[in-house]
């Protein structure tokens, strides 16, 4: 799984209001390919909102988000049909795994390959099975989400997000529900993804996790980036 995108994910002057309340104001940072950035800040600082804005799940009022050809500008979220480039290159792992409850783990991972990328079923199945195997949940491919443990569900969710082979992976509080041992396993897994050349932006308030596994910390406070690139040891 070699990455082909060589340009960074660029977020420039991102501003977002809800009513009169300013949520984000002039947020600017970049994430390079092969880099794991931890997006840190207190609860409610706007970490998840930034991820959602980058993934075109939430409209914003100012600034731009760019990745190669894909560019998001202020205004309503564009329809899915105009987001193909962005969707192709940006994967998202939600805080709650949000697996599709009516499908097996394997079907969850295959879904985008078969229906968004229109790959043949057998090829999709092979790739999905390999992904689950590489994430250590190959044995659970026939299980439904309700039959998976929290850790297993999260890894299936990561496999699902990785299936279309995105250059950038956004993760929202991936360690929130993990014990220290599983946190370590996840950290190693993310490092492997970075080694493959992906850019990872991980929203977290877990200082230890950031210190252990992130290349860089982007710190958010008072609606702005206060530390746009400090090394994790400085956190």
């Amino acid at each position: 799984m070699e990455r082909r995108v060589s340009n960074p994910l660029v977020v420039r002057d991102l501003g977002l209001k809800r009513g009169d309340r300013i949520i984000l104001d002039g947020v600017t940072f970049e994430v390079e390919p092969g880099e794991l950035c931890a997006l840190m800040g207190a609860s409610g600082a706007g970490k998840s909102t930034i991820l959602r804005a980058i993934a075109a799940l939430e409209p914003f009022d100012a600034g731009t988000v760019m990745l190669d050809e894909a560019k998001l500008v202020p205004g309503p979220v564009p329809p899915q049909s105009r987001l193909k480039e962005l969707r192709r290159h940006v994967g998202f792992v939600f805080q709650a795994p949000s697996l599709f409850e009516h499908m097996t783990a394997l079907d969850n991972v295959m879904l985008a390959l078969v229906h968004a990328l229109r790959w043949p079923r057998d090829k999709s199945e092979r790739v999905a099975a390999e992904l689950l195997e590489s994430l250590g949940v190959g044995g659970r491919s026939g299980a439904y989400p309700r039959e998976l443990s929290g850790g297993e569900a999260q890894r299936v969710a990561i496999a699902r997000a990785l299936a279309p082979d995105p250059a950038v992976l956004l993760m929202d509080e991936p360690t929130a529900a993990l014990d220290p041992a599983r946190r370590g396993v996840l950290g190693e897994l993310l490092r492997d993804l970075v080694k493959q050349g992906r850019a990872l932006l991980v929203a977290t308030h877990d200082v230890d996790f950031a210190r252990s596994y992130a290349d860089r910390v982007i710190e958010l406070a008072d609606r702005r980036i206060v530390a746009p690139g400090s090394s994790p040891s400085g956190v």
């Binding site: 799940l57 329809p79 969707r87 940006v90 949000s98 409850e101 879904l111 229906h115 968004a116």
Partner: protein, 498 residues
């Protein structure tokens, strides 16, 4: 025999007043009371029993006058009790009133179950056809393969059922005696078989246009008074009184006043007033055995099942489209669909069936079965759409967002993610609705579709008991609904992984 749709609002007042009377605890039926309680159906209208236009709390008609003659002869005062025509026999046996008198037809099975008076009027079953068909549809035999309408649970209906088997006519049963003639004029049926009084009344109502009455009667029948089986003593008094009124000309006077006197009547009364009760009347139909009704019950059960399945299919498809429109559509589309749901849900399905079948008949003449499928299907679509809308909205936003981040189109998200999960939530209420629809399908008998409940009612009326027909009917409904509920539960269990 007479059940017509009330055309005059005065009848409503009368029906309410009479109904209030009928709902009171029954007073001792006879003997001790100074009143003679007699039951009839004012919905049947003139010349039998109708609300008096001058005083809608009173009734008038030749049956009203005959009831008066009987009461006076017994030294009592008559008191009218409103009862649905089809329920007269059951009500008199229950003791709701002493005498049933509202164009009740003489039949052998009636005599076997109740105390029945001598016939007081002779009628003819006559064919009505459109003027252009007068030459070719002169007899039932000529109507082979054609639709012949009549009122259900009548002698005419029994004749048509027999003619279905022997002559190949297609009987169409109505709940009233107005719509058969409307549908004859509209071309929905090719003939109507009913008694001459109703036929002539309908012809007068239509201004003498639209159809003609064939001169050759198909059969002869008689009107009688019906009493509870145990009331044979009172029946004998009624017989004696009727004979007296035949001899003294009172009956003739009444019939002349109501314009139903004719030569045949004169001959009949001359003969009958001199005869013993047991000789009177010459019923045209033989009673049919219970087993003879099984094929028609099975056929009706199939109609119910087919109708329910087709209507539910329509309801599910239209309901899903409405729900999707209300969740995803533009503001005007949402408003339009919401209006549809509220109007359809807020008005009776019976009214909708009437509008579809009769109301629109000048624009589009739907066959009865199709109108029934459309009426029930479109009505239930409103309810289904609300179930699906609720289920669609119950799917968490994160599920849809996960679909978006994977690059699925909105349609794919709907089809692959949202709808399948919503279906699981909707399954139990949908099963509920299908069972309700199965039972509501009995309403379509108002637009001439003979389904299970209607056929059961016809069967029960003919054999004079609801026990066996009712049990068979209930078994058939349960045979449809129980496996369905079981299937739905199994699906639910499978989907929930239990």
């Amino acid at each position: 025999m007479s059940v017509s749709t009330p055309r005059r609002s005065v009848r409503v007042a009368l029906l309410l007043a009479a109904l209030a009377g009928a709902c009171r605890p029954a007073t001792p039926p006879s003997g001790s009371a100074r009143e003679l309680r007699w039951g009839g159906d004012a919905e049947g209208g003139a010349p039998f029993v109708e609300a008096d236009p001058a005083d809608p709390t009173k009734v008038r008609g030749f049956d009203v006058e005959i009831a008066g003659m009987i009461a006076r002869g017994l030294g009592r005062s008559p008191r009218f009790v409103q009862v649905a025509w089809a329920s007269i026999e059951a009500s008199v046996e229950r003791g709701d009133f002493d005498v049933g008198l509202s164009g009740v037809e003489d039949r052998p099975d009636l005599r076997s179950r109740h105390a029945v008076s001598i016939p007081y009027y002779e009628f003819h079953e006559v064919l009505a056809v459109r003027p252009a068909d007068a030459a070719r549809y002169a007899t039932l035999r000529a109507l082979k393969g054609h639709r012949v309408a009549t009122l259900g649970s009548t002698q005419a209906y029994a004749i048509l059922i027999a003619a279905r088997d022997s002559l190949g006519v297609i009987p169409i049963s109505y709940d009233d005696d107005v719509h058969p003639y409307d549908d004859l004029v509209a071309g929905r049926v090719d003939a109507v078989l009913l008694d001459n009084i109703i036929a002539e009344r309908s012809l007068r109502r239509s201004g003498g246009k639209g159809f003609v009455i064939q001169p050759e009667p198909v059969a002869t029948g008689h009107y009688v008074a019906v009493l509870a089986r145990s009331d044979s003593a009172l029946r004998d008094s009624v017989d004696a009184l009727l004979r007296d009124r035949m001899r003294d000309g009172s009956l003739e006077k009444t019939f002349r006043a109501w314009n139903v006197w004719n030569d045949a009547q004169a001959r009949y009364i001359d003969a009958a007033s001199a005869r013993a009760p047991s000789d009177a009347g010459s019923p045209t139909q033989n009673p049919r055995s219970a087993a003879a009704y099984l094929p028609s019950l099975l056929r009706a059960a199939f109609v119910t099942l087919a109708l329910s399945c087709l209507a539910m299919t329509l309801a599910v498809a239209a309901g899903a489209a409405i729900a999707a429109g209300r969740v995803y559509g533009s503001a005007p589309a949402r408003a339009l669909l919401a209006t549809y749901v509220e109007v359809v849900r807020g008005t009776p399905v019976l009214l909708q069936l009437f509008v579809l079948y009769y109301g629109l008949s000048s624009v589009v003449r739907l066959p009865a079965f199709l109108a029934a499928v459309l009426g029930l299907g479109l009505n239930y679509a409103a309810y289904e759409s609300e179930i699906y809308r609720g289920a669609l909205q119950a799917i968490q936003r994160s599920q849809l967002e996960a679909g978006r981040t994977l690059g699925l189109s909105e349609w794919q998200i709907f089809r692959l993610v949202r709808a399948p999960q919503a279906l699981r939530l909707a399954l139990a209420p949908m099963t509920n609705d299908f069972v309700a629809l199965l039972k509501d399908s009995s309403l379509v008998s108002v637009i001439t579709v003979v389904e299970l409940t209607k056929q059961t009612a016809i069967y029960a009326t003919n054999i004079g008991s609801w026990v066996v027909p009712g049990a068979l009917c209930a078994l058939a409904y349960l045979a449809f609904s129980l496996p369905l509920a079981r299937f739905a539960r199994r699906l639910e269990r499978r989907w929930s992984g239990a």
